[in-house]
């Protein structure tokens, strides 16, 4: 997932003089700089051919990993996916477009 954030701010600890006043942080959504994807032991595998873009997985993914492009499901952000398996579980049984397998 691409972001416009300055990577240096998240790899080095900034000195007091470079911090916004009051402990405020101004880069909204900066948690995307944290790659929680390395937590997982299992990972979802999405089958584009089977997917009907019902967005049920999008509704329930706790880590906002379901990627949408042009109003269709486009993939899964494995950089942040923690491998919980909710997406595979909520995918309608008749569709069954997501399977969990051992994380690579």
């Amino acid at each position: 997932m691409t972001t416009m954030l300055d990577e240096k701010k998240y790899t080095a600890n900034l000195p007091a003089s470079e911090l916004p006043e009051g402990g405020v942080w101004t880069e909204a959504g900066s948690s995307l700089m944290r790659k929680t994807g390395d937590w997982k032991v299992e990972q979802p595998v999405w089958d584009k051919a089977k997917c009907i873009s019902c967005f049920t997985c999008w509704a329930y993914c706790p880590d906002s990993c379901m990627q949408i492009e042009n109003g269709r499901m486009a993939g899964i952000d494995l950089e942040h996916c923690k491998g919980c398996g909710i997406c595979a579980n909520v995918c309608p049984p008749k569709v069954s477009a997501i399977k969990m397998e051992k994380a690579r």
Partner: protein, 316 residues
Amino acid sequence: MATLKELATTQAEKFVGGHTSCAGCGYPNIFRLTLAAIKDPVVVVGATGCCEVNTSIFPYTSWKAPFLHNAFENSAATCSGVEAAYYSMVKSGKLAANNTRFIAFGGDGGTYDIGLQSLSGALERGHDMLYICYDNGAYMNTGIQRSGATPRYANTTTAPVGKVVPGKMQKKKDLAKIMVGHNVPYVAQTIAGNWKDLTNKVEKATAIRGPKFIVVLAACPLGWQTKTQDTVRLTQLAVESCFWPLYEVENGKYKLNDNPEAKGKKIPVADWLKMQGRFKHLFKPGGEKLLAEIQAEVDKDWNDLKALCEFHSKQE
């Protein structure tokens, strides 16, 4: 009311990934869906708890809406201050009105317990804000201590199952009912595992001026001792067992949003409990009596709620 495709594609997400909630955590999608359902500018005020600490470890933030955290017991009071500032500065011409919506949230600890006074005061004062309680039934952030929202006989670290005590001995507080007692225009109970019911309620609430309250049951794989992939299904079963009915109270009138019994889908509460490690002692010899007790309590509350809803529907 928005379709799932509309929710997913209309606007950029205001709550993003990379937060440190456990895998399979039940609350993040409450906030993702809530923010997706609101088209107006929104300010979110969060109480200390899992959601706050996991989404705002400096310099990381999962919020793409303005987010303010003050302390544990005061998200409602803090939000009431933001709301008062908005209306004051709009009135005096210092700020252009833009229909900002104000959302305060807390977990069950921050809402049922330590934040109840602050919430009660804010609701009574009539602030134009929506309070959302994500209720996972214990102080999960500090390590699964019992709260006023912990169901009877659940195993927690401060009301543990021992040789003579079968877990938490008290019944869960009925928070929605307490909120109804504040005579606010909208109170609702829902689950994190029903996107439609949740977003319908958020949309309905945000269209109303004044104080609104929604309590959302959310599973916690760590505290409930459940499988991460079952998080969504678990809250759905809580509804099907009638332990946690979906209902709303508009201007004091109760209305059921789903009736599993009428659909012939009501399941025994034990079916829901047995999926959760926190109740596993109930399924050992001697647990039958305790299970029967829980079932009787659920049935009584369900019948009371149905009667209330029927009474109000007949009035119309």
